[in-house]
Amino acid sequence: MTSDARPAARRAAGLRGCRVLGGLALALLAVVELTPAAGWLARRYAEPARLEPAEAIVALGGGFGPDGWLDAASWRRLVHGILLYRQGLAPLLVLAGSTPPTGPSEAEIRARTARELGVPSGAILPVTGANTTREEALRVGAELRSRGVRSILLVTGPLHLVRARAVFERQGLVVRPAPVGDLSLHPQKPGERLALAQSVAQELLGTLYYRLAGYL
């Protein structure tokens, strides 16, 4: 092989590799968008509900914008927590959520909303200063231990519950999953399947990160 031919052969091999990668990416996209694989995988991964009486209901944060508006996930988790409280499954509603450098935290905004929706102030415990699932587990765990609470109903998305449950159990709490859907686990449209597959991938990576960091 001449000295000119060698780089050309390397370039051709590189492009062949890209061709294979491109083909695999398209095949994966077709499987995710056009088959029930994403829903099946999400349903197998998701934490099923176990709604039993506990000492507290913990509604994890779901994000909020700079204008102080709660994101859809945050609303869903808050409303589900309030409904569980109204069903009498626990006497205490713990509201977590992210805390910006300035202004009210997500937990404080949710606590105000819960009061306005009829939950007595004494039954609401906003927990601020946490921005990640692990930080929420650490802060909520410390608050609940100081009150002698041992069992909780944990409210978050069914996929997020797998990782959240594990970090809360590490805090010595007995966790009963109370999932509330951020996304349908029975997606009907290609776009919905893609979004669900992205959520599963995100949670798998999040769990891997938590394991590598020693949080689980």
Binding site: C18, R19, L21, G22, A25, L34, P190, Q198, Q202
Partner: protein
């Protein structure tokens, strides 16, 4: 049903595009294989750009979180936009290479015909 509709629409527009290209513009069927391979290479390059873009966004984000600086949620990253722009980067790079190869080829042909 919606999936069938999507597949049918893709099949029909692809067939129409094939007929339009071969009958109206006289494109060769054999060249379609080359074009498909080039498109796959562009998509493959797009995947590589996506991974690189993701790393360049996520590493500083995780580092700032680890150092206790400003908190940015990983959920706030817009993966769809990154994927779209990365695909564009890959396709442009692939076309650029093809164009450069074509120009080299034509200048070689010109110089050999002159000599």
């Amino acid at each position: 049903m919606q999936d069938l509709g999507l597949v049918a629409a893709l099949g029909l527009t692809s067939a129409a595009g094939y007929l339009w290209a071969t009958r109206r513009h006289g494109l060769e069927r054999a060249d379609l294989r080359w074009a498909t391979a080039a498109a796959l290479e562009g998509i493959g390059l797009g995947v590589l750009f996506f991974l690189a873009n993701l790393a360049l966004i996520l590493i500083p984000l995780l580092a700032s979180r680890a150092l206790g600086a400003r908190f940015v949620s990983i959920y706030a990253v817009d993966y769809f936009t990154i994927a779209t722009v990365s695909l564009l980067q890959g396709v442009v790079l692939r076309w650029w290479r093809s164009t450069a190869e074509d120009q080299r080829q034509s200048s070689r042909t010109k110089s050999s015909s002159r000599s």
